[in-house]
Every structure is written in C-alpha cells, then in structure tokens.
C-alpha cells in the first residue's frame, strides 16, 4: 500500500521513460476500470502509476487516408460519439460501447480492454475481426503489431517490459464493407461475455470477397478464426457457408467450464453468434 507514485506525463516518450525507470513495477493507467479494481483486490500493487490520459496522441481519434487511428486511452463514450468512425466500423464501436455501463464508458478505453488481457474482453474480437494494427512504443522504440498477437493468456500479453500501447489503426477498406459484434451474457446488461464474436466482411455483387472473424471467451486468448473467414470468403453467405463458418468457430473453441457457461454450451454458442453477427455485418454492408 505504501509508496505508490503517480505521474501523468504529457508525452509518450516521458511515459515510456517513467515505465523504464520503474523497473517492471510500473503500470499504465487509462480509465482505471480494471486497474483500480485489481489494486483494491490486492491482485496488483504497482510501484508507479503512469496515467496516459494527458497524452494527446493516446486520447484522440484521427482519420488517416480512409482509415482511422484511435488513441489507446480514448474512452468508450468519446468513441461512441464519433459519427464517421461509427459509420465506418459499427462493429468495433458497438463492441467498445458494450463495455460496462454509462459510468464505465466515461472511463474505459480499448487500450485498457486489450492490455488487461481478459479472454472475454468485448472490444478485442471486434478489433481482431477489423484487422486492427496496434502501435506499441517501448524502450526500444516503436513497432506495429496485429491486435491478435497481443494476448498471451488470461491476464498476460506479449508486450515487452515498459511497452505501452499507443493506438489502434483500422485500415481503409472498399465500399460494401462492414462489421458487427455480438456477445452472449446471462443477464440483459452489465455482465461478462460467455462468448463474444466479431465479424468483418466485404460484399461485392452479393458475394463475400473478404472476411475476418474474432472469437472471445472461448479460449485462453481472443482468437482469430481463419477457417471461419475462409468459409465465408467467396460465398454468397448462404446457409451452407454460414454453417461451415460456424463449424470452424466451434472447432476453434478451447473453453473452460465455469459458473457462466459449460464447455459444450460455449462451443455451441460460438457457432450461433457467428451466424448472427455475419448476418448483421452483411446487412450493414448493404446486402439487399
């Protein structure tokens, strides 16, 4: 409890320096909706807290030649109010906006959701489906990583000591593209996903020309399900293709039994949500 330091640097370089100086005891603070709870529960006890909410690059959204760069610490509420982003990536935005409640939305960030590394993190399957690229900065400089490479296991990431997630980049994509995210929770609101599924696709002349599928809460990490994407791409999203993609999702599942859902249940639901999310994404992409 004693001697926790707090800094709120203005630049990423300063933040990285503060993390480096902390010798592994540093923790980034974005919205704090995971970190503060874990500190209270005694799960983590940082030596220094590096608040990144004063860093412009991490708290703003920019359009970049058809794509978007979202600062890792932008709150869900701000993302939800970005009309053009919402139009371009409705699935990513709805996934981020599903996190918690109004109050939580005012604080919680996609960066925090990713770095907390819960397999059930809601925004991550949607970001995986979107093909988001994560920009990371650390003592050795900057690097870009596909979002699905960040999770290493429950609560563990592939970030190197002192590395900070700076932003997410959503690529530009052709007309006729859209995405969707669905999750199953046992109650109507405020719950942790039993299964989450993000689907992003492009439809041209009724044929799905590109697809990506992300699955959450069914394995130690959020999964990119390439076989499901393959089943969808090239098809007209007919029942056979959807069933094949659903089967690929079920095959990818390596879930656990817990109070919220059994292995059999989670596996089955992964397929159902894939079909439904693909249907919504296709509708949004302008099919029919």
């Amino acid at each position: 409890m004693n001697n926790i330091q707090y800094v709120a640097p203005q630049s990423i370089d300063e933040a990285v320096a503060a993390m480096a100086a902390a010798n592994g005891t540093g923790r980034v603070l974005a919205g704090g909706t995971d970190l503060l709870i874990q500190m209270r529960a005694g799960v983590v006890s940082p030596g220094i807290i590096v608040d990144v909410k004063k860093i412009v690059e991490m708290t703003t959204i920019d359009e970049t030649s058809g794509g978007y760069r979202i600062g890792a610490a932008v709150s869900g509420a701000v993302i939800g109010e970005h009309a053009r982003l919402k139009k371009a990536w409705p699935g990513v935005v709805e996934a981020i906006n599903l996190i918690g409640s109004k109050q939580i939305q005012g604080r919680a960030s996609a960066g925090g959701n990713l770095c907390n590394a819960s397999p059930a993190a809601d925004s991550v399957p949607a970001l995986v489906a979107a093909g988001a690229i994560v920009t990371v900065q650390g003592p050795k400089g900057r690097r870009d990583v596909p979002v699905e490479k960040i999770h290493a296991g429950p609560g563990r990431t592939t970030l190197q000591p002192g590395e900070i997630v700076v932003s997410f980049t959503l690529p530009a994509r052709p007309a006729g593209s859209s995405d969707a995210y669905l999750r199953l929770i046992p109650r109507t609101e405020m719950d942790i996903a039993v299964v989450g599924c993000g689907v992003s696709l492009t439809i041209q002349n009724g044929t799905c020309t590109a697809a990506r599928v992300g699955l959450g809460a069914v394995a130690p990490t959020v999964l990119l399900v390439e076989d499901a994407a393959k089943a969808l791409a090239g098809s007209r999203l007919d029942d056979k293709a959807l069933e094949a993609a659903a089967a690929a999702c079920r095959a990818a599942c390596k879930p656990i039994n817990d109070k919220r859902g059994t292995i059999a249940y989670r596996t089955k639901i992964a397929g159902v949500l894939l079909k439904r999310a693909a249907g919504i994404a296709a509708e949004r992409a302008g099919r029919k």
Partner: protein, 710 residues
Amino acid sequence: MTTALIGQPVSRVDGRQKVTGRATYAAEFEVPGLAHGAIVRSTIAHGRIASINSVAAERAAGVVAVLTHRNAPRLAYRPHKGAPDPDVGERLHMLQDDQVNHQGQPIALVIAETLEQANHAATLVRVSYTSETGTTDIERIEPVLPTQKNDQGQVRPPETRRGDPEGALAAAEVKVDYTYVIPRENHNPVEMHATIAAWDGDRLTLWDKTQWVHNVADEIAAVFGIPAENVRVVSPFVGGAFGSGLRTWPHVTLAALGARVARRPVKVMLSRREMYYGVGYRPHTVQRVALGASRDGRLAALLHDGYQETSTYEEFSEALLNASRFLHSCPNVYTRHRIARMNVHTPTYMRAPGEASGIFALESAIDELAVALGVDPVELRLRNEPEQDEFKRLPFSSRSTRECYRVAAERFGWSRRTAASRSMRDGRWLIGWGMATATYPMNYAPASAMARLLPDGTAEVRSASSDMGPGTWTSMTQVASDILGLPIERVKFTLGDTRLPRAPVHGGSMTMASVGSAVQAACRKAREDALTRGGANDVTEAMRRLGQPVEASVDVQPGDASQRFSMHAFGAVFAEVAVDPDLGETRVRRIVGAYGAGRIVNPKTARSQCIGGMIGGIGMALMEHSVVDGRNGRVPNANFAEYAVPVHADAPSLMDVIFVEEDDPHVNPLGVKGVGEIAIVGVAPAIANAIFHATGKRIRELPITPDKLL
C-alpha cells in the same frame, strides 16, 4: 373528522431525504475521534489457529491495536437468544479461542486511524492453521433430523404424516416424483453492513444497520455482561437487508470490542466480499416432492422431503415444508425436514425464508402433475382448493386464492394460452406462460408505541421499529395521521432507536400488523384522551384548548385468533418468458401477481414491495447462485461482477400487481397480513413453469442459466 389516509398511495415521507443524500445510514454517522476496524478472516473452513503473528501489523502506519484470540479481553457471553437466533446451538464467540468453524470467520481485528491503514495492516497479520477434516460440500453430507422441534413459536415439526401417503402414492393413477435443488443465495442489499461503536464508561452506543435495534442491544449487553439499558442502538435508515439484518452478527461485537480496547469509537464496515462470509444467506436446499393424483386431477398423495445446509455450531431451519401441509387439499401427506451440518457459517432468514424455496419445489411439482394429467395448471389448483387448513384443522381467517387466480388470469390473458409446450412463438423466440400459487403466514408479535399530541396540533409517534425499504416510515405516519385526523405533514413518526418503545423484529412480514396495530392503539388512546380532556370533537381544537401535551403509550398483544384460525396471505403469480431456442437465454417479459393480503395500508409502497419481490424472484429463477467451493467453503463469486442479480434491464416492462379486496377481521386490529415476503414467493416457480411451457424442458435446479436449456 377522518382524513382516511389508510389505503392511500402516499409517497414516502422520507423519500426526499433519501434521494438528496440526507438520510444517514449506519456507516455515515460522524462520531468524533473515530478509528476504523478491519477484520482478518480465516482462510480455512475447519481447524485451529496454530500461530498468529501481528507484529508487522502493529508496527504499520496508523495502527492503534490488533486484537486476536490471544490478547482480546474475555467476554461474558451470557446466554441470549433473540427471535431470529436458532434455538439449538450457540453463536460464535469472537476472538475467544483458537477454533475455526468456517471459511471467513473473524480471527483478528485491526484498528487504525484510517480505513486504508486498517485494511493494509490487516494484510500483514500472519496466520498458520492446523486444519481439521470437515466438509463444505453438501453433496457429500448425509442430512439428519434436527434436534429442535420448534422454532420461534412457529411449529416446524421435522416429520409429519397424515393418512397413508406412501400407500396412496403407490396406488395413484398418475404420479410425479422429482428432486428440486436451489443453491445458496445471498441477500446482497445495496448497503453493506456497518457498525460504529462508542463507549462512555460502561455505556455503549451503537450506530448499526439492523432490522431490530432492541435485539442488538440485548445481545451486545449479554456478550459484554452489562445491563441492556446501557446499550443504545441507533438505526434510522437501512439500505435494504432482506433478512441479513435480523441477527446481531459478529462484526457488531467486534466493533464494540475494538472500541473498548482502543478507548475510542470504532467503525467496522463490511466489504461486499465480506457480505458472503458474515451475515447469513439463504441455505442450499434439496427437496424431493412426490405427488399422486387420480385421473381427474384430485391430489391423493403429497410427499415433500427436504433438507438444507446449516453450520456445525447452530441448527438453523426454515419453513421449507409448511405450505405443503395446507396449500392444496390432500388427504395423505408426509413431510420431512432435515439439516446438513457443514463447516459453513450459519445461514439465516432471507426474504420468505422457507416459503420461497419450498414453494418453488411444490409449485413446480404441481405444474409437472398438470402436464402429466393434461389439465390446465390453474384448473388443477382449483380442483384441489381446500376448505380449511387440513394440517391444523382450522378454518382460514380468509383465503382469496380463487379470486387471485381469477383476477390474475384475466389480467394476464391466460385463456389465450395454448397448452402444448413450444406452441407459442414470437419470431425466433419461444414464448412460455406459467403460473404458481403463493402464500406466506400472517405473523403478529407484541409491539408497543407512544403517541404524543402537542398544543400546536402536531403529533409525535414513536416505536423502535425499522424500515429496511418497505416504507415503514410512511405507513406508520399514515396510520397515525388517519387515526388522529391530522394532516400527514403534522405527524412525525420516529423509529430505529432503542430509546423508543419496543417493537418486534422487522421481519416475517409482521411490521404492519404488529407495529401498525400498536401505533393505531396509541393514537386512538391519545386522541380519546385529548378529545375528552379538551372538550372538543376535533384533535386540533382540543389540543389548542388544552394547551399542554397529551401522551399515550400502549402495548399490543396478539389475541387467541391463531388458536381458532389458520392465517396466511395468498397469491397467484403468472409469468411470461421468451426463450431464444439457439442461445437458451431467457427474458421475463411480463409478471402479473394478485394477492389477498388483507387491508393494504399504502398501495404505492405495497406495489413497490411486490415489484421488488418479482425482480428478486427473477434473480432466484435465472441468476442467483453463491458458488461454494466444496474443498474449503470459499465463495469464488463473492462480488457483484460474478454473483448475478437482476439489473434494471432484466426487469420486465410489465409488472402488474393486484391486491384483491379482503376484509379479514381476525388477523389483527388493522386487518393487514403483510406483503413483504409473499411478494417473492411463487415468482421463481411461475418462471420455471413458463420456461417449461416455452421449451418443453423442465429445469429442477436453480438458477435456470442458458446452458441448462440447450
């Protein structure tokens, strides 16, 4: 003149205080010189403390004292049994020995200047244990008959038999015979339990969250060996309790003990996690119900055999089987109630204790029988409507079941139901309609009240009752205003302080009956006195003429009505669910409840109670489950992220509450039966029955989570 306030939907008199944050709850009292206590809890379920080292904790910043069984003062622990305490067994004695009886048992108290310092220092106490074998896995325990034959004057015989139940079951044309399981559930009121204790010599003041200030005073006096008059307990507002505030729990004793040792006021407030280890819970129950009937749907045999968890040090039992003995007519009935003694802390009463659980099993079984017979569930109940209480062999003082079925069914549109399961749909959703009967006893206990009329035409009315949410502040003000004929703004009712006239425990749905009758009698007496002495026929005028206060104190006692009548509230609950057949998720769309609960003093707050009960019933049916680790008694989901209770979005947009007209002259002077607990009874089985109707799947183990439906 009468203002006829009884029966009016008066808004809460304390509503403004509550929503503006000016209602002061136990933890919020500002007491000068306050120190904070943090409880260190055992991490084993059974054994002894081999060593406990508090040196580091004592040295930590801000620490005032660390109490363990090694240095804590020996306490008197004179015998004391309050009404909510189990008859058999003895409460845990705090920090008096090295024995550990359950996971999370308090084993040390750290007192520090700030809460943060106390919490931190509590993590520095080092404990080692000698574990002893024990069990916290109800599936591995052989239940036994309880030693106690009686509990709180309500007869709960372990075994009853009338007729030849086994023979009748064997001979029955149609039978159902299944086992129903309800896991442990926690009360989870919004306000966490908290106590502030301050000594002045051998006088103690406690600001506490409790449903019974006088019992707290009596128990703490017994624990410390001081006269009960020396203990003052203040508890004006309670942020929900559902029964968790009935008993006087260990943290209350610890606050008082800490304050005595520290020689300054000490506050102990439980965290949400601690709420799963120290203030009771609805016990896990396992119930077999076997029903036998003739082809035309007359019940011939009813066997209800249930058991529940309890601790090793107290025999808690609840009224699991009571309703089965009289709710439906049946000549051959067997009930047996057993307990499973485990290394857990003692369960306690939780909203409709026993009835909520027992009636889930009974009313699920009745629905199963209706399906087996091919008879409409309402019709089956009507065919088995008893003429009297067949167990007590007494007439009902009033029983409005028929009217409740009729009114609720009509409001619900039950006649449009198609009988076959999976026969109703809305798009991809499967729709199910189910119903259940509800009942809860009319309880009435001795109570006292004081009414004081002042020359300016205002009145002060007092009784040491509690208001954990139902609206006691309001309903008592209404009764007093009504009797006195004074506008409600001129009557000030006060509760929640041992300095006020003694009231019974605020539980068992008996506050309106008991305290209400006392308030009524005190106000009548004061009014008559004022009118006679003031020589006027209006209280305001009489008091103006008198020019001095008039005071009346009364004690009311239940008469012998319970010898002559079986007295209960009854109700019927109808629910509509929608189940997604691919995901197994259930949404409750509508609930209609009709209740015959005597006179309704305030239809607005009574409706709130019922809506709260319906939402609580949704939790019971679909979500609530305190998971107990069978190896060590830990509750891994002891928090609001993982113990699901319904949120607003889970509440159906339509919750219809109907109170049928009921004029019952026998129950008590006010003619009320209470609605607080019947409100949750019947909701879970109505939902489970609706889910069966929607899906064709009978789930006999709560909660009905989506995975059980696929």
